[in-house]
């Protein structure tokens, strides 16, 4: 419960005090979103450290050396838990995110969504085009190809949207595998149901995928995106925890 309270407090302070101030004081949109995203990354990093020290959660992040110098990359992760976003926004501090369009009109979240310059998902064609343009401009983008949290025990169901964006932008893909053991804050579990056992959160940054080979080996972009989508789903469906990842649990 302390972890929830901490997360809630951080979110409240940022959304009610800090980001409205940024909105007023920092007029340059690019600079404003950069420092805001850095701040979110820092806060989430601190939150992770605190919950780890409190014994609520232990975690392992491996392969993060692959994040250095990333540009114009589509970062794709499976989505077992609500905690995923905390880790991803901590690790990929400059990345764009597709956010629910309601956040942009909700009085409590609209400033935050705009200051962070996230991409609203209201209009699918606008959203896709915006994602592609930002990738082509060299920005990174984090997406969950499932579009929602996984259902525990069910195979991953990837929408072709993320793969289509990657193909059309000719953007490299960086798969990130996330495992949450035991499951917590899943799609089928109430948020207040906290496991008795300490949660192990394992994040593995996998190898970068060059999408050009999918384009070259397919008759058209649709087939290329289907092939890429299938490949990404297979890569992120691996159940086994690597020895390196489990050894690194802290």
């Amino acid at each position: 419960m302390l972890a929830f309270a901490l997360f809630g407090t951080i979110s409240l302070v940022l959304s009610i005090v800090v980001f409205p101030l940024f909105w007023i004081i920092v007029r340059n949109r690019t600079y404003r979103s950069t420092i805001s995203r850095d701040l979110v990354s820092t806060c989430f990093g601190l939150l992770i450290q605190v919950v780890n020290r409190l014994g609520v959660l232990r975690y392992s992040i491996t392969g993060d050396e692959k994040i250095q110098g990333l540009s114009g990359c589509l970062i794709l992760a499976n989505h077992p838990s609500l905690i995923d976003a905390v880790f991803l926004l901590y690790m990929f501090c400059d990345a764009n995110v597709v956010a629910k369009h309601t956040l942009f009109s909700n009085p409590f979240t609209m400033v935050t969504a705009r200051v962070l310059n996230y991409i609203p998902n209201r209009d699918p064609s606008f959203m896709m085009e915006e994602c592609i343009q930002r990738l082509k401009a060299g920005q990174n983008l984090v997406v969950f190809p499932e579009g929602t949290r996984s259902v525990p025990g069910q195979p991953l169901r990837f929408s072709r949207g993320a793969a289509t964006i990657a193909i059309r932008a000719r953007a490299s893909c960086l798969p990130v595998s996330i495992q949450c053991i035991p499951p917590v804050l899943t799609k089928t579990m109430p948020w207040y149901r906290i496991p008795k056992k300490r949660v192990s959160f394992i994040v593995e940054v996998l190898d970068l995928i060059d999408v050009r080979k999918f384009v070259e080996n397919s008759p058209n972009e649709k087939m290329a995106s289907i092939a890429l989508n299938d490949y990404l789903r297979d890569v992120l469906s691996q159940d086994a925890i690597s020895d390196i990842a489990s050894d690194n649990l802290g």
Partner: protein, 91 residues
Amino acid sequence: MEKQTTDALTEHDIRDHIVRILVEKFDVDANKIRPNSNLFDELGIDSIDVIDLIVLLNDTVGFRLPSEKYSDIRTIDDVAVLLKDSLANGS
């Protein structure tokens, strides 16, 4: 099909235009297409194709078709109704 008002377009015209796009842009077999053909189950169209189809129709009518209607689309008739209603409303 140039941008036209709803008065000049019959449902037949609209449906024909949609079928033409499906055949030319999405490689759908024309022989498989019926007005109530399910885009997903029968014609091999998926949700991304629907987005692309709507973008092409936006270009045709000269305005953005309402995005909140995308998820209701299942058949060619659904697309035709969306297009016809949007033309009738002017947006």
